[in-house]
């Protein structure tokens, strides 16, 4: 049913116009509240007029009731609308006042500035690869005995192969012996075989020392040793392990290798191993080309070494290899100068170093 609006008496129209004007000019929410109380509060102008309804005749009331209620409803709506506007305006002002210059650089997060040394990264890569092949990680001290560094490894006293090691010695001890800085990680082989029964599958990364210093040699460097001893391990397995390692480490599809017969006192037969490469002005690219690059020494563990560790060479057999960690790091990541590894130049470390959370894994890829 459509009810025609009741025309307002003049005084009510004036009242409404006055209140509306006040609402529209209220500057903020507090002022608006004052207007609301003045109009709709218990003693407000509209409320006072509502109170007069009781004294009216039913006819008058039928006219004035809806008129007054309509007036109240309209003012209530106007106040709500005005409030919404005022809130929005206030927020706009606040936001404008809170503006900052976002082109300023933030403080870089620590994690962005920190770096892992390439040697540590490569050691973690080695661990990831060999852990997957069932190897565990063995270690030994840097200060070794002559027995473990040489004699048990089948380097007889006075043997010319000892001369080739440029050994650092410590002072003579009370018992006439002298300790030395291990010249290779191979004493860890011996320590492992003395402590553990076959089957053995270890790698032993660590620091090694030789008193030699030039473009390509530093008196301290890093090696990783590998050792497998069981009842069947032979050169074919050695080839497989090294091929798998090179493919995984250098991240190449094809790691063609060349085994050259060589000599190490602690292996027999012994091989030096070359990896296929291409040499150009840009450096060395591995896994392609028709040149060769020597990367490691290897062989079947010498029966004398097994015997020296209490292992029967007719029952057990196995192979070992050793390679330079610094060297394979240089090859993989293209660092030209070994000496820079140990100079701790922050510019170099930031250039060649790795992100703190860039922990290599086979699942996630070794290098990213």
């Amino acid at each position: 049913m459509d009810v025609a609006p009741t025309p307002l008496p003049d005084d009510l129209a004036q009242l409404e116009a006055a209140i509306t004007a006040e609402i529209e000019t209220a500057a903020d929410e507090a002022a608006l509240e004052t207007v609301r109380v003045a109009a709709l509060g218990k003693k407000g102008t509209v409320a006072e007029r509502m109170k007069t309804l009781g004294k009216m005749s039913p006819d008058e009331r039928r006219t004035m009731g809806p008129a007054l209620n309509g007036l109240k409803a309209r003012i209530t709506d106007e106040i709500a609308a005005r409030r919404e506007t005022l809130v929005a305006e206030a927020l706009t002002r606040q936001l404008a006042s809170e503006s900052v210059d976002v082109t300023l650089d933030p403080q870089a997060a620590d994690i962005v500035a920190g770096r892992i040394h390439p040697i540590s990264q490569v050691m973690d890569e080695l661990v990831a690869i060999f852990a997957d092949l069932g190897f565990s990680i063995a270690e030994g001290p840097d200060i070794e005995t002559d027995d473990l560094n040489f004699t048990k490894l089948n380097f007889p006293e006075g043997h010319p192969a000892r001369d080739m090691h440029d050994t650092f010695f410590l002072p003579e001890r009370a018992d006439g012996t002298r300790r030395l800085l291990r010249t290779h990680t191979s004493p860890v082989q011996i320590r492992t075989m003395l402590q553990q029964k076959p089957p053995i599958r270890i790698i032993a990364p660590g620091r090694t020392y030789r008193c030699d210093s030039d473009q390509t040699h530093t008196p301290m460097f890093h090696q990783v040793e590998g050792l497998v001893i069981d009842e069947t391990a032979h050169i074919g397995h050695l080839k497989w392990v090294l091929t798998e390692f090179c493919k995984a480490f250098f991240e190449v599809e094809d790691a063609a290798m060349r085994f050259r017969p060589s000599y190490f006192p602690f292996t027999e037969p012994s091989y030096e191993v070359d990896i296929r490469c291409k040499r150009s002005a840009d450096g060395i690219e591995l896994g392609t080309g028709d040149d060769w690059l020597e990367i490691l020494g290897s062989g079947m563990v010498h029966p004398n070494v097994l015997r020296n560790c209490g292992i029967d060479p007719d029952k057990y057999q196995g192979f070992a290899w050793g390679m330079g960690i610094d060297r394979i790091a240089m090859l993989k990541y293209g660092m030209p100068d070994l000496r820079a590894f140990f100079e701790a130049d922050v510019r170099w470390l930031k250039h060649y170093g790795f992100q703190p959370l860039d922990r290599p894994s086979l699942g996630g890829g070794l290098s990213r």
Binding site: I116, C211, P219, S262
Partner: protein, 803 residues
Amino acid sequence: MKFTLSWLKDHLATEASIDEITERLTAIGLEVEGIEDPAAALAPFRIARVTSAIQHPNADRLRVLTVDPGDGTALQVVCGAPNAREGLVGVFAAPGTHIPGTGVDLSVGSIRGVESHGMMLSEREMGLSEDHDGIVDLPQDAPVGTPYVEWARIDDPVIEIGLTPNRADCLGVRGIARDLAAAGLGTLKPLADPAVPHSDDVATPTVTLDVPDDALCPAFALCLIEGVENGPSPDWLKKRLKAIGLRPINRLVDVTNYLTYDLDRPLHVFDADSVTGSLTVRMAKDGETIEALDGRTYTLDPSVVVIGDDKGVESLAGVMGGEASGSTDATTRVLVESALWDPYNIARTGRALGLNSDARHRFERGIDPAFTVPGLEAAVRMILDLCGGTAGPITLAGAVPDGTRTIAFPPSEIKRLSGLDVAEDTAEAVLVKLGFTVDRSTSPWSVTTPTWRADVEGKADLVEEVVRIVGIDDVAPTPMDRPGAVAPRVLTTLQNRVSTTRRALAARGMVEAVTWSFVSHEDATAFGGGSAAIALANPIAEALSDMRPSLLPGLVRAVTRNVNRGHPDVALFEVGQVFAGDEPDDQTTSASGVRQGKNRPNAVGRHWSHPGAAADVFDAKADLLAALTAIGGPADKAEVTRDAPGHYHPGRSGTLRLGPKILGHFGELHPALLTAMDAPERLVAFELTLETVPEPRRKATKKPAFSASDLMPVRRDFAFLVADETDARAITRAAKGARKDLITDVTVFDVYRGQGVPEGQKSVAVEVTLQPAERTLTDEDIDAVSSAVVAAVTKATGATLRG
């Protein structure tokens, strides 16, 4: 070891190309390190005649030559050689050519005002020898205008191989030829008939072996040749010696050098007329001296074996002869020696005297004993051929050892070690070609080594011989089984900690350094080390003399270098080994770091967002605790005490302890130490010893059930006045202990000295968190706890509650 292709072919009948030969050499373990074609560098030089030689107008020692290079021109050349003269036929280098001996590219130049269009060359300038006494003086009939290499037949490629110490037999060309023949690259030619006419008219020399151990000189053979005529060697011999880098001296000496390389038989010749009395092999007397053929005088001790006569020492056995009895052009009577020496004694003598020689190199690796007398015969024959004369009978003192070894060899060993199937006939054939004797009538086989292969000791060596000749390339890569389905844990706790600590510290903005394991003695001493037991006996440099007691000296030096290069605000760390002594247990693993300048966690350098303050002791402490926490260490249980080693600032450093164990230290480094090290001031540092952090107990992977209280925690603040030197830790510990069932945390949120706080005191404000377990706390409950806290802190520290 160097040799030429033609030399090899003296021993090896082969049609193989040089490429095939060098490839095969590498494949069988005689690694080719270089192939030199000497003709290439000398190709531009032609034979030329000096048509006139006049004195240089401005220099006494120079002459101005007119040179005919054979093309009809006459070139003016300034020359300083004393033998430059009219009519000389020599070798001419035109402008624009490269002089190999000097590395200079020749151009037309003016020498003391006279133009020179090229030069006449000496042998050294051509890189042929060290001879620089004058320019090359060729025979008059040498064809002018012909390339020198063509006339001199310098067309023989020189091959250099790197030999492993076990392959002493390949220190002679014949040994190399034998290996190649076994590898199927030709046939080994028989040795020339060694039969030598010996005349009884010439005396049989006597020699006495007077050494304490027969092994020092098992055998010594000697032959006297009379009526020899010494002098320069024939060209073919000089050429071969020069090709491998030896200097021809005279026929007698050249014969010994030649046979050293040809047949791997070091020899020595004495001028018999310079020997007084007869020769004796004996130990040197202490302080005895000899002037050796290298012109140096050596002082000997009784560990050195010498060959002496009635005058004194004439030769260092197996290493080098003496100048006094060396052969000269005037020598007519010569004693030729072929002997055996103890490899270890020769090596020790050579090392002690710092004397290297071709003889030492061979004797210390082992020489074919059976070739002692045949080698002497070969030398005598060659001397008779080149110098004439008459040889007397050979004297042999001592006895030539057998030098063979018989090895029980099951052929199955080849497959066992190499994985390669080799037919037994093939294996036998390879061994026989290498000189082994194989008896297949026994099981296992009985294999006897040749006298020149002392390195072959057992079954594994025989496998190596067969496999290297058959070809290691034939061994197929064979996958290995994985032990067990799931890989076991591969890293020890310590190994995990090393890797984790590195990444935790790098994540705090520090950069990982790897510094030397050795530091200077001063640095070692300053950082708590310097023990003589771990000072290197032969350090490579003074700054790298002692095993490091701490990572800090290396890091401080590294920080200093970076700052001095103009890159300040550095934070470096290292995780690595430190040494307290020379036993394995004395080596521990330290994680240490140094912060310099404005390098604080999350606040590096000058930045608009923060004041850019310098790193302080609390940054170092935070680094230490972060490292400890990262490896699961008990950071909450560890106690800090106000003491630290002497390299720290005594008032700004601490030690982190767990019960009686010291986990690490932190603090500012001692200012006096930094000054002494020329380091930047105010460095802060920490050291954590990873081994002292307790191993986590093995526990189930399941954690206790999660339970969280529904009740709101209550927080109350207290401010205590305490004496300035009171440890804040004492307050928090006492507060926490006041009601262990309710108080879960106590945190210092303010430390204040100044107005309102009496002199000598500080105000320490703490927030205490109460976590009710069963019911909401009433005001009375909270008041009771507050009183307990105040009482406990007061009792422990003498504090008063600040009003």
